[in-house]
Symmetry: C2
Subunit: 328 residues, 2 copies
C-alpha cells in the first residue's frame, strides 16, 4: 500500500519539482490497486497541461555494449555542460520474476546517481510489456511536469520492449559494439531500422580502428535501408565513455533532429500518432484482458490452442468457438 | 450471391482437384454473408486434414521490380521442370477502392495463366488488411486440399500486408532492383529483415554488373543484421526473367531451406506459431470490431481522439472513458 496524498498535494509538489512526491506518484501509477489507479489518473490529468516539454530519448543496446557508462557520460554532460534537468527511466523486462528491478543504479551510474539535477527510476516488475510501457508513458508525463527537460528511457535491446519504447520517445539511440556481426545476435530483429542514430561504443585505444571500420560498414548498410518517414539521415557516430569522446556530438545530433523535425512539424505529428497509438493500444489490451479473464474462456483456451496446433480446428473456427463461449 | 453447393460437394470436388469448385469455395471464403461464412467454415474444417502439404512462398517487391515476370519464370520452371502443381494467390491492397483486383493476370503472366497445372487467384477487395489475410490463409488451405504443392502469395511490398503474408508463409522472397538505395524508398520498413532470400531481378545485359555490385553490398549489409531464429543464412541471388537465369537457383535455395528446417523441426514449429498467431489475431480483431461497432463508441470515438491529440485527456483516460461507454 502506497502512502497517499490528496490530488492537490501531488499536483502542487510535482510542479514544484519535489522528487519525493514525484517518486510516490510514479509508485501510484505502477500500483495495481484500483484506488491507486484512479488517484494516479486524476493526478496525471491535472498535470497533462504541464507535460510534453522535454526531449524524450530511447536508449537501447545489447548487454555488454556499455549502456550504463554511456548514459552516465551523456547524462553528466547534459547536466554539467548543458545545464539540463535529466530523468532516466529504465525498463528492465528481466526483472519481472524478482518483483523488483535488478538494476542497481547507484553502482551502474555512480556519478549521475548523486546529481541533484538527475532523477533515476528503474521500472518495477510488470505483468505485461504493455503494462510496463503504460507505466513508463505516464512516468514520462509526471517527470515532465516536475520540470525535467531531457528524459532517457532505457531498455535492454534484446526483448520485445523496444517497439514500445520507440512509440514512447522522440529519438531512438541504438548502441552497438564494433566487430563482426555476431555480437548483434542478441538484438531483436528490426531494431536497426527503428534507430534515429547508431552509436558505436568503446571506440578507444586498440578498439578505435575496429570502430572506424564498423562505422563505415554501418553507413553503407544504412544506404540500403528504406528512408524513414521523417526524411532524417541516420548518423553513425563513435563514442568512448572512457575517454569521454563523441558525447557532445551525440547531443548535437539529437538537437539537430529536434530542430529539423519541429520545423517540419514531424515532431508534433509523431507525438500525435504516438498518443493515438497508446489510446488504441489501451483499448485493445483492456478488451483482451476482459475476454481472457472470462471464466469460460480461461477454462477452454488451452484446449482450443491445442486443437489449432494439432490441425483439428482451423484458427478461425477455434477463435469463433471461444468467442461464442464468452458472448453466450 | 454465390451459387452454393452442399458441403459434401465442395469437399469431394476440391479433393478431386476441381478448379471451378475450388474457385467457388474461395469466393465463399471471401463472402461477407454470414450464411456463406458458415458454409465456408464447414468446408474448411472438413478439408483441414488434407491441408498443410505445400511449400508456401511469400513473394514481394516494389512496383517495377519485375514481380510478374519473375513469378511467370519461376512458376513455369516449377510446372515444366519440377512437375509441380502451383497456385498463385495475389494480394493487392490497392484494389480496395475499385471493388476488384486491378491485376490482369492474363496479361501479367501470359504463359502461366494458360497452364493447367497452375491456378492463379487475385484477392478481392478487402475492408481490412486482416480480412484479406484471413481470406488468403483459408484460400491456402483450400488450394492445398485441391492438391497444389507450391503456393505463391504475392504482395506489392509497399503496404502493410507483408507482415501478414510473412505470417502465412514458410519462405519469404524479397525482390530487389540493383542500383542505389533510392529505389527502395517505396519498401516498408523492416521488410529486409523478414526475407528468407533476396533476389536481385533484371540481372542481364548492361545491368548485370550493377546487379553484381548490389549483391555484394546486400551480403555485407546482411552480416550486420541479427541472425534469424531459424539460423538460416539469407542468400542474395541474381536472376533474369528475360534470360531465364537464376530461376532454378532460387528454387534450390527454397528446397534447401525446407529440408534443413524440416529436419530441425523449425518448419513445423513456425507453422504452429503461425496458427496460434492467427487464432489470437482473429479473437483480437473480432473483439475490436464488436467494440468499435457499439453505437455509443462509434458516436464518441472521434471526439475522444481529438481530446487525446490536443492534450485534454491522457491516452489512458480517454480509452477508459470510451470503454465505460460500452460496458455500461
Amino acid at each position: 500500500m502506497v502512502k497517499r496524498f490528496y490530488v492537490d498535494q501531488y499536483v502542487d509538489q510535482i510542479l514544484a519539482g519535489n522528487r519525493v512526491v514525484l517518486s510516490r506518484a510514479i509508485t501510484l501509477v505502477e500500483s495495481k490497486l484500483p484506488a491507486d489507479q484512479e488517484l494516479a489518473q486524476q493526478v496525471i490529468n491535472r498535470l497533462l497541461p504541464y507535460s510534453g516539454n522535454s526531449i524524450r530519448i530511447g536508449i537501447t543496446g545489447a548487454p555488454g555494449v556499455g549502456k550504463s557508462t554511456f548514459i552516465e557520460a551523456l547524462g553528466n554532460y547534459l547536466i554539467l555542460k548543458e545545464q539540463k534537468k535529466l530523468a532516466v527511466l529504465a525498463i528492465d523486462p528481466t526483472s519481472q520474476r524478482t518483483g523488483g528491478s535488478i538494476l542497481g543504479d547507484k553502482t551502474r551510474m555512480p556519478v549521475l546517481a548523486t546529481q541533484l539535477q538527475a532523477y533515476i527510476r528503474p521500472s518495477p516488475a510488470g505483468n505485461s510489456l504493455g503494462g510496463v510501457a503504460c507505466y513508463t508513458r505516464e512516468s514520462i508525463l509526471l517527470c515532465e511536469a516536475a520540470g525535467f527537460e531531457v528524459i532517457f528511457v532505457e531498455t535492454v535491446g534484446v526483448g520485445q520492449s523496444e517497439t514500445a519504447v520507440h512509440s514512447l520517445t522522440d529519438f531512438f539511440l541504438l548502441l552497438l559494439l564494433a566487430g563482426a556481426g555476431d555480437e548483434l545476435q542478441g538484438l531483436k530483429k528490426g531494431i536497426m531500422e527503428m534507430a534515429d542514430a547508431l552509436i558505436i561504443t568503446k571506440a578507444d585505444g586498440s578498439n578505435l580502428e575496429k570502430a572506424r571500420v564498423a562505422r563505415a560498414e554501418y553507413i553503407n548498410a544504412l544506404h540500403l535501408f528504406p528512408v524513414p518517414p521523417s526524411g532524417w539521415q541516420v548518423p553513425v557516430q563513435l563514442s568512448s565513455a572512457l575517454e569521454n569522446t563523441g558525447i557532445s556530438e551525440v547531443w548535437k545530433s539529437i538537437q539537430e533532429y529536434a530542430q529539423k523535425m519541429q520545423k517540419s512539424k514531424y515532431w508534433q505529428e509523431k507525438r500525435n500518432q504516438q498518443h493515438l497509438y497508446w489510446f488504441r493500444e489501451t483499448i485493445r489490451q483492456t478488451l483482451e484482458e476482459k475476454f481472457f479473464a472470462h471464466p469460460e474462456v480461461a477454462k477452454h483456451i488451452k484446449e482450443k490452442e491445442q486443437q489449432v496446433i494439432s490441425g483439428q480446428l482451423s484458427a478461425f473456427a477455434a477463435a469463433q468457438e471461444l468467442l461464442n463461449l464468452a458472448y453466450k
